[in-house]
Subunit: 217 residues, 2 copies
Amino acid sequence: MSRPAALEERLGHRFNDARLLEQALTHRSHGAGNNERLEFLGDGVLGCAIAEELFGRFPGLPEGKLTRLRASLVREDALAEVAGYLGLGGAMRVGAKQQVTRAVLADAVEALIGAVFVDGGYAAARGAVLAAMGPLLDRLDPDQPAKDAKTELQERLQAKHLPLPQYRIVSREGEAHRQSFEVECSITEPPLTALGRGTSRQRAEQEAARALLEKLR
Amino acid sequence: MSRPAALEERLGHRFNDARLLEQALTHRSHGAGNNERLEFLGDGVLGCAIAEELFGRFPGLPEGKLTRLRASLVREDALAEVAGYLGLGGAMRVGAKQQVTRAVLADAVEALIGAVFVDGGYAAARGAVLAAMGPLLDRLDPDQPAKDAKTELQERLQAKHLPLPQYRIVSREGEAHRQSFEVECSITEPPLTALGRGTSRQRAEQEAARALLEKLR
């Protein structure tokens, strides 16, 4: 693989060990020496660097808003956007039948951060995170309106590394144009369930999530 | 607050700014200057330090097993155990009506790690994580991560050639589409029983097994 100098420039890090860079860009569909372990490491490094940055950038912001901002930065959408900025699409090594999806790209961003960490330590990795995610960081709005209930519940569980909620339709009544849905939302830790009703499945799910958040509080 | 020298010794970090330590041990129920923002930061730092340690300690372990090991270390149970080792129970500042629960203690461990990070940087915080979580790290078994509770209980008993657990439904409430089950799990050696609730028999059994594992520990 030719050395992707533009990528290293955008990361603000020139690799001492270029094999780490190659590994970070190798999807598991390509075979051994892939980026899965680096992705695991990079996920942790990214979370830490983002937390440090938000903690320092927004000194007065309460924990709940910080958590929401962090979640918005580490989600697949955001990381796939970073991958685009870094130009990863053309640099990935994937198996013959593997598409370079947004998920593949988002994972590769995490793996890259892990690779910089192995190559240069925390300060270098933090620098790479800020270089790669600067545009996203700069357009953050700390006062962005509260998330809908389903998102808030999901983010709250993710922040504690707990299993995500499950939704299932309990009942569906009425004719096509005036249906009423009842949905159950359940989580396993702590074991709780809550019901919600609405005129669409989506609304019923939101109500169930809201009811479950109430129980959590 | 008197300076908790024993705590600093167990963390392997003496604070330059003792106010950070005080803040880390102040629950939100106590008022302003509480540990919520430090907890947000510490959560990220902890995830990173644990990822780094697992990545280095288990060079051949695939990503899935690393992820499960990390989850087992950052869950509330594990952090509450660390809080016990650090002796946080008596050091917390909480509001008059606030119990020092396992959740309060687990959050304070994260806040402490965040405080060390602010006070001394990543290397100091990583050192504190390893000092505080050393016992948990040393007893990790990379080949036996995160089984579900019923499997873990069964395997634990089998390993000691003890009789297997029995599960029985204690009560079943509600209509067909929103039932709640209560299940009792019992073992004979040592003679213990535990209850679990859930929206299905299977979930209730898992909860009962989890509660019984807690009693065994």
